[in-house]
Amino acid sequence: MIFLEFEKPIQELYEELDKLKEIQEKGKADVTKSISELEQRIEKERKELYANLTGWQKVQVSRHMERPYTLYYIEQMCSDFVEIHGDRCFGDDKAIVGGFASLEGRTVMFIGHQKGINTKMRQYRNFGMANPEGYRKALRLMKMAEKFGKPIVTFIDTPGAFPGIEAEERGQAEAIARNIKEMFMLKVPVICVIVGEGASGGAIGIGVGDRVFMLENTWYSVISPESCSSILWRSWDYKEVAADALKLTAEEMLKNKLIDGIIPEPVGGAHSQPEVMAQTLKQQLLTSLAELDAMSAEKRIETRIDKFCAMGEFHEA
């Protein structure tokens, strides 16, 4: 288990617990009662800690190295996953994955950012930062889903679209812009879930849907708190302040009506009980799909457009 900085009190309790368990194993003394008391205390303290996370702490949880990613969720929730590679134009981006899978017997197109599970894989996945071909692959798969009348689910988890020379040459901006526009006109239901980091254009490039959800401990904004700090405060030291100012948590995003709902995470974050997280997520997807099935394609498109067009706050004298 990897503990975050703010989880230090919990970490200390776990260390204590390990010591007690060692004593128990060696048969030196009977500490069963102490162990169970300590376990309860850990549970209680963790619950309290996670009930009051700051914006910056949630950003840290959303980036936790053990957090489940797109492929894990697909594997846990579905059967018969067929991954489809490539944009049929330039190449296969490893930071965005996708394909058909069977969700409770129903074929769904899953598309999502994919981060690596270890150092080597993180590099292979480019840390979840997609190039234009990733966005073009995503659109190709969405169009295919539309062709066969299958609903689309996207999982968003990116620190941003990749800012590189080749990405610019191949039209990073155009790829994202086209996706946003095309997603509005998709005739099939589209559900988007921020499962980790939702950074700016890289996120919204697969983020236009009939339902947009955020997992409880994720963030979604126009810029990361670190970059915001560096630009507005001209220093890297204001990331906590920036995280608060950006109002990037699921709770604040829902309050501002910029997302449609929050999916609760297990206490301690999605990574503490990934199977539980996958089940909760699956239930939400099934519920939402049933709701969206009840609407006509025209109605869904109209509602999707109206929802995003209502976003913004201004005065008119």
Binding site: E169, Q172, G201, L248
Partner: protein, 281 residues
């Protein structure tokens, strides 16, 4: 008089003050350093007569250049920013807005107008870089959406002139969603065969490029304009290498295949009229 005074900025000038259009009698070209008479510069559409450098200009100048006799009707002129997030960085967003409004005489970073271009009706919405770097907040999103709706209503083409660093951080996720909002409107206009012309000028980056600016039926660009998704500094920091010469210039983007044509500002109006006529007839 200002015969000997530097009228333009050195490196220490803040971004807001980097307005290339001179107030004085003389103007020194930021690119070739030639001294030009301001009235000559204006007559040349704010393009340097010596080196063809395109000075950064605002909505007032573009409207003057594009519309017949400079005549147009401004639309949605009274929209101003809210402060949905109660945002404060080194100073409160509301104060920043007020100060910028006072300094520039503008309400926000974009203005919309309709008028005739060689007799053809056109709705144009144009950014002002002087207003917080032409950044896109709720007002910009709404004004672009309304400009597109106006064009749909009047069944005429719509044009967006971009000059922006991207999203306005002080409106955070609200500004991000303007990418979706404007693109949704363009999707609707597209279904109704409303022509959309995007003009990318120096600079056009970030969320503006990654939404409506790249979605034109015609993507036009001014010569040598900086056009990109990520800014050059961010890319340089990421890849830890120097960037090739001319990287992210309009010419580079044209070669990469994402800009349709580069239009010299002196020919902007006639080129626009040509496109409008071709689409109509």
């Amino acid at each position: 008089m200002a015969w000997f005074k530097r009228s333009t900025a050195g490196v220490t000038t803040s971004t807001e003050e980097k307005l290339d259009v001179p107030d004085g009698l003389w103007f020194k070209c930021p690119s070739c350093k030639a001294s030009l008479l301001s009235k000559d510069l204006k007559a040349n559409k704010f393009v340097c007569t010596q080196c063809n450098y395109h000075c950064r200009i605002g909505s007032a100048e573009y409207f003057e250049i594009i519309f017949d006799e400079g005549q147009c009707e401004e639309l949605d002129a009274n929209l101003t920013s809210g402060d949905p997030l109660n945002f404060t960085d080194t100073k409160p967003y509301v104060d920043r807005l007020k100060a910028t409004q006072a300094k520039t005489g503008l309400k926000d970073a974009i203005r919309t107008a309709k008028g005739l271009v060689e007799g053809e009706m056109l709705v144009v919405t144009c950014m002002d870089f002087d207003f917080i770097g032409g950044s896109m907040g709720s007002v910009m999103g709404e004004k672009i959406a309304r400009a597109i709706d106006k064009a749909r209503e009047m069944k005429c083409p719509v044009m967006v002139i971009s000059k922006s660093g991207g999203a306005r951080m002080m409106e955070a996720a609200f500004s991000l969603m303007q990418m979706a909002k404007t693109s949704a409107k363009l999707a609707q206009a597209g279904e109704e065969q409303i022509p959309y012309i995007s003009l990318l000028t120096d600079p056009t980056t970030g969320g503006v490029t990654a939404s409506f600016a790249m979605l034109g039926d015609f993507n036009l660009a001014e010569p040598n304009a900086l056009i990109g998704f990520a800014g050059p500094r961010v890319i340089k920091e990421t890849i830890k290498k120097d960037l090739p010469k001319g990287f992210q210039s309009a010419e580079f983007v044209l070669e990469s295949g994402f800009v349709d044509l580069i239009v010299d500002r002196k020919e902007l109006k006639s080129k626009l009229a040509q496109i409008l006529r071709l689409l109509k007839n």
